[in-house]
């Protein structure tokens, strides 16, 4: 970060508030890391202590962030502690504050959730290492968001990636977990390589490491912008770079995947806003690319979420969808900005930030509830779940709330941000100049509504098959309601979802003001305020009245479910997740390839099979058609190259001669 912006940052902050907050955030990071280092070696430890400490520091940072609202905080590492010749520079302006607050909230929830959850998987994990990585992970996320220049950013980014890789591999005794960790590792390293390329290139152009000095309005800067965009898209899980996401999230413990999906992918979104939006990228081609990829990933994500049986995989795919929405809004805002349609640009960027906040809340909630289910029923597979409603009603209630929020059902928060996206698209149809653009954004509106309907199907499947009906396996029968810690964490998130849903308008204004004070002129102009609050009250009141006045009085007799008179049906006769999704999946046959594998067992299998097991699994086209061949290509190259090292000394001497000739040729050519 170059000095004058730094000075500016310091100047704007007022006195002790800033000092206090700076110190607080700093203290948080340091305490986390020192704690992590201390814990590094303990084999088994009570998770309560680190959880409590994390909670305290997260609360502290929340408080400090709110106390210092409206002041930019700047901090630069003092001289011995530099990275070589680069100082670590942090700057918390109002944009990063928005994200930091979200992070703090999520961390609070997760740290309340942790002790209860970890006690269930204590046998499988090395608690010390887990907590060490976990805390480094959190601290590095704080650092990424707070970083003011490219180098600090990249360092924190890499730390974040390393820590999260280690966390994904927490239960590394399983091959599958290792595989997921490796896939994630590859993806994240490629992304950071691209980022590094872009950053270096921008530095070569602008001679500065500070994001503040990077302006992407010159054709020279388009290629680095593209590099940065793709790098961030990989981390955000945008199609077609989303492959790692459905592997990494299920492999990690629920607490980790809650943070990864709730916040880590938002870090990429934040970076997109911080670098490209604040850098005023104006290359139509790149913006169009981003927009297209985002739209595809909304559709792709929800489509594949539909056919998942693992609840966490399902949630992971729906994260892809939601991040797609966010990035789409960002791209729209960029487009509108360079087409000088200010209102649309503002609305879209507000929508993006608001939706990332909301998605952070309810996705975290959903992952936590699934974690609670997993810890009790010891499975996340919809084929073995069901009938949890009676066993863990509260968890179910929270999961339902989260699902309604993510299906953007008013008056919950999902709707309020999705509405803004719709609204900005609609305004785009009205205002943008050319007919094609109007048509395109109309098509996108249409697609979004289809995506919404699909999301409803997805989560109805998750709720209905997962929680309602009769239990499909023994494991569920032993399930009991999760501990109070787990429930409390979820409850807090639910409340936040409702609050930020009902106060959508205030939130949007807040975001607009923050963006303005962060340096991007944004004003929040919407035709009129949605009556989400009124609707909420009305809905609640009417439901209550209907129950009290009408339904309460009716006399109830209990009986079996209608079974056409066959007598008690086995749980197997219930609809399964696959069969529920089948009619929809049939419509999208071109995208969804099923792979059926039947196995017959017992002697004389051909005529009298004793055990018949049929496995249906979805085939990922991208993986089989694109990524695996690509990897195979690299592997083949490596094998080819390895043949050079054939072991014959004569060959080696020949290499020497050949190199000599080549060098002489090259050198003399000059």
């Amino acid at each position: 970060m170059n000095s004058e912006t730094f000075v500016k940052a310091r100047a704007t902050g007022t006195g002790q508030v800033q000092e206090m907050a700076t110190f607080g955030v700093l203290a948080l990071l340091l305490s986390l890391i020192s704690l992590a280092l201390v814990l590094g070696h303990r084999k088994q430890l009570k998770s309560a202590i680190p959880a409590a400490l994390t909670l305290i520091s997260a609360l502290a940072s929340t408080v400090l962030l709110i106390l210092s609202w409206g002041h930019d905080l700047g901090w630069q590492s003092q001289t011995p502690f530099w990275l070589g010749i680069f100082p670590l520079t942090f700057k918390i302006d109002s944009l990063s504050r928005l994200y930091l607050t979200l992070l703090s909230v999520i961390v609070c929830a997760v740290s309340i959730f942790s002790p209860g959850y970890l006690s269930h998987i204590a046998a499988k994990i090395h608690a010390g290492q887990y907590w060490a990585c976990f805390l480094v992970f959190i601290a590095s996320m704080y650092a990424v968001i707070a970083s003011a220049d490219a180098i600090t950013f990249l360092v924190a980014w890499e730390l974040m990636s390393l820590a999260s890789i280690a966390l994904v591999a927490t239960d590394h005794s399983h091959q599958s977990v290792q595989k997921s960790a490796f896939i994630y590792l590859g993806a994240t390293r490629v992304s950071s390589a691209l980022l590094a390329g872009g950053f270096l290139w921008m530095h070569a152009i602008s001679r500065s490491w500070s994001f503040h000095d990077w302006i992407f309005n010159d054709p020279v800067t388009y290629l680095p912008a593209l590099l940065i965009l793709i790098g961030l898209c990989i981390k955000a899980g945008i199609w077609p770079f989303h492959i790692w996401l459905p592997y990494a999230h299920p492999a990690a413990p629920a607490t980790v995947s809650a943070i990864m999906s709730g916040f880590m992918i938002k870090v990429a979104v934040y970076a997109l806003i911080r670098i490209l939006v604040f850098g005023a990228l104006n290359s139509t081609l790149i913006i169009a690319l981003a927009f297209t990829l985002a739209v595809v990933s909304t559709f792709w994500g929800v489509l594949f979420a539909l056919v998942q049986n693992d609840l966490k995989k399902l949630l992971a795919y729906s994260s892809i969808e939601n991040v797609g929405l966010i990035v789409m809004a960002i791209a729209l805002s960029l487009y509108a900005r360079q087409a000088s349609l200010a209102t649309i640009a503002d609305l879209a960027i507000i929508a993006a930030i608001f939706h990332s906040w909301n998605h952070g809340l309810f996705k975290c909630l959903l992952f936590l509830s699934v974690g609670a289910v997993d810890s009790q029923a010891h499975t996340r597979d919809l084929r073995h779940l069901g009938g949890l409603a009676k066993r863990m009603p509260w968890t179910m209630a929270f999961f339902f709330a989260g699902s309604f929020a993510i299906c953007s059902i008013p008056p919950l928060n999902g709707f309020s941000s999705k509405f803004l996206i719709y609204e900005s698209l609609f305004k785009n149809v009205l205002q943008c100049p050319t007919f094609t653009e109007k048509g395109l954004s109309l098509a996108v509106i249409c697609l979004l509504s289809a995506v919404g309907a699909l999301a409803i199907a997805v989560f109805v499947k998750a709720m209905g098959v997962g929680f309602l009906g009769v239990a499909r396996s023994k494991a569920v029968h032993h399930a009991e309601e999760a501990g109070w810690g787990m429930l409390l964490a979820q409850a807090c998130l639910v409340i936040l979802c409702v609050v930020s849903g009902v106060n959508a308008d205030a939130a949007s204004r807040l975001i607009a003001d923050s963006l303005t004070s962060a340096g991007l002129k944004v004003d929040y102009t919407i035709s009129s305020v949605l009556p989400t609050g009124t609707t909420a009250v009305l809905l609640a009141a009417l439901s209550a009245l209907t129950y009290l006045l009408f339904l309460k009085a009716s006399k109830v007799t209990n009986y079996r479910t209608w079974d056409c008179g066959f007598g008690t049906l086995s749980p197997k006769t219930q609809v399964s997740a696959d069969s529920f999704a089948q009619p929809l999946a049939r419509i999208f046959r071109p995208f969804l390839r099923y792979e059926n594998s039947a196995r017959f067992e017992g002697q004389d299998r051909r005529h009298f099979p004793e055990v018949v097991t049929v496995q249906t699994q979805i085939v990922s086209i991208l993986e089989n058609r694109v990524y695996l061949p690509g990897l195979a290509l690299i592997g083949g190259l490596a094998r080819l190259l390895a043949r050079l090292q054939a072991g014959s000394i004569h060959l080696y001497l020949l290499y020497v001669c050949a190199t000599l000739c080549l060098l002489l040729f090259l050198g003399m050519a000059q």
Binding site: R643, G647, I649, H650, L654
Partner: protein, 217 residues
């Protein structure tokens, strides 16, 4: 243009080295090597006389004693110990290799045409050619031989070539460097000779073409 005695010696040495490539008999190789080294010693001496300075004479004697007598003696003793008479040859057959060597000998004249002659003297060309061709020959020798011992010969030939080059292209290398190089050559020969016996001991042959255990894939 006149051709000096030094250059005659050098070219003789180069041609002798070329002949080395032609024969698989180790003893023949040894003889040829010691002869060419002798020529090199002579070249050193003559050039010393030309520049009329006594320092190099001493080096010439040293070379004659060490490289053309002591080392060949050591290797002939080694040949007896190892019970090997002739190399099996690798890649190309010896006559072909020899012709290649002679071609390279010719080629080296073309290659070194451009090299500016050393300061003060007009003609360094033949010397440079001889040196380079010796280097080529040595490499060729290493490439076309299977036995560890003849690879050492090849290395020695390369050393000779470089020495020739130094002799003809510079007027007077620093003495200490000369000494150091000579010493290194000796130690190198010692170490590799030692290894020869070790290889013989554990593999029961000294055919390096069969030493291909360490490789990728």
């Amino acid at each position: 243009m006149t051709i000096t005695a030094t250059e005659i010696c050098v070219l003789t040495a180069a041609l002798l080295a070329c002949l080395m490539v032609g024969s698989l008999h180790l003893r023949v190789n040894l003889w040829l090597y010691s002869l060419s080294t002798l020529c090199i010693a002579a070249a050193t001496a003559t050039s010393a006389l030309e520049h009329s300075e006594m320092g190099p004479i001493f080096i010439a004697i040293l070379i004659a004693l060490l490289k053309s007598v002591a080392i060949p003696k050591f290797f002939s003793w080694a040949i007896d110990k190892l019970h090997v008479q002739r190399d099996l040859g690798a890649m190309v057959t010896p006559p072909l290799a020899m012709h290649a060597a002679i071609l390279l000998f010719a080629l080296s004249f073309i290659l070194t045409k451009e090299i500016p002659s050393p300061a003060g003297s007009v003609n360094g060309w033949f010397g440079a050619a001889g040196g380079i061709s010796l280097v080529f020959t040595g490499l060729l020798l290493m490439l076309t031989r299977r036995l560890a011992i003849s690879q050492i010969f090849g290395f020695l030939v390369i050393e000779n070539g470089i020495y020739i080059f130094a002799l003809t292209q510079t007027n007077g290398m620093p003495l200490i460097v000369e000494m150091g190089v000579l010493l290194d050559v000796l130690v190198g020969v010692m170490v590799s000779g030692l290894l020869l016996f070790k290889i013989q001991k554990s593999f029961e042959h000294i055919d390096v073409a069969q030493l291909t255990q360490l490789k990728e894939y």
